[in-house]
């Protein structure tokens, strides 16, 4: 028999499993509710929701006006609401103004429209450099912005979560709302990229 390792040295997946089993035994967590949350966020809630919001804003000026006025309410019109979406503010990019979203403290993120944050958003380097040197950071993401483009960085918090409304790409004038959706990525709605150009 090898010596029993200290609990802190045991794999984190075992610790998670141990905590889950205790919480279920105590009746503090309903396994069906647990599985539903995991399934919802792993499979159903994702940046496709946000892409539909953006595509509608690009094609429906009245909707865009409502979105800029009250992001949370306009997003809820499409059925997207829930935790971490209580106050969503939409930031519109223009040819001379680019918005970048970060959460410097942890990883606040508008779940109902973008799903859970990706790895790079939670990374310490992203969280510090977005504020300190956004232009260099964006260049590393492959987004070179000219000196005439102002960059504004917004720090999401538990009170306000930001989502970027990217510019509608050139050459998409004849595309329908549904055809525009695939051009709108999570990266574009966080401000580390522009919307894709049509193939």
């Amino acid at each position: 028999m090898s010596p029993v390792p200290a609990p802190s040295d045991l794999p984190v997946e075992l610790r998670t499993e141990a905590l889950e089993s205790i919480l279920i035994e105590k009746g503090l967590v309903d396994p069906a509710v647990l599985d539903k949350f995991i399934k919802t966020y792993a499979e159903d809630v994702g940046p496709l929701n946000g892409a539909r919001v953006v595509a509608k804003a690009w094609t429906d000026p009245d909707y865009k006006a409502r979105l800029m006025e009250d992001g949370t309410a306009a997003i809820a019109e499409l059925g997207y609401k829930g935790p971490q979406g209580e106050c969503i503010v939409v930031l519109e990019n223009t040819p001379t103004l680019h918005h970048l979203v970060v959460c410097t403290l942890c990883s606040c993120y508008p779940w109902p429209v973008l799903g859970l944050p990706p790895g790079w958003y939670k990374d310490p380097a992203y969280r510090s450099r977005a504020v300190r040197e956004p232009r260099a950071l964006l260049a590393e993401f492959g987004l070179e912005l000219g000196p005439d483009v102002e960059i504004k960085v917004y720090d999401s918090s538990s009170e306000v979560r930001y989502m970027v409304l990217p510019e509608r790409p050139a050459g998409t004038e004849n595309l329908s709302e549904e055809e525009l959706v695939p051009l709108i990525t999570r990266e574009a709605m966080t401000g580390v990229a522009k919307a894709k150009s049509p193939a």
């Binding site: 390792p5 609990p7 045991l10 984190v12 205790i22 995991i38 792993a42 942890c106 859970l116 990706p118």
Partner: protein, 123 residues
């Protein structure tokens, strides 16, 4: 869980959101840790802001400590810390259970597929 499968919203012609980006969970345990916090909050056992403050502290500590950063490790630590503070879970009991689980024979979860945990369905 077949009922939730039936409720899955697959309306619209576009691909499911997972094809729109990388996987949000790097390993099944991350999704379990995430789901536990959501389910506990949903059950009214703590305020989300209380959890968030624990998470902020944990993230700051992990960054100060250096080494490889694991967001969901911070998440799990924050959750355990809050549960202990609220008197909901005794962390010594979690230690004991973790050690018990570690004593299972290797490969245990590949031999029985009917024992309740579903490996979180990642592919």
């Amino acid at each position: 869980m077949s009922s939730s499968l039936l409720q899955l919203d697959i309306e619209g012609p576009a691909a499911p959101p997972r094809s729109n980006g990388e996987l949000v969970f790097a390993a099944p345990w991350e999704s379990r840790a995430f789901g536990l916090a959501m389910a506990l909050h949903d059950g009214g056992l703590f305020e989300w802001e209380a959890f968030r403050q624990e998470l902020i502290k944990g993230v700051a500590l992990a960054e100060a400590a250096g080494g490889e950063f694991s967001y969901y490790r911070c998440w799990l630590e924050a959750l355990q810390g809050l549960l202990a503070t609220e008197g909901l879970v005794d962390l010594a009991a979690v230690d004991d259970r973790t050690a018990e689980l570690a004593c299972r024979p290797p490969g245990h979860d590949h031999r029985h597929h009917d024992h309740g945990h579903d490996h979180a369905g990642r592919h």
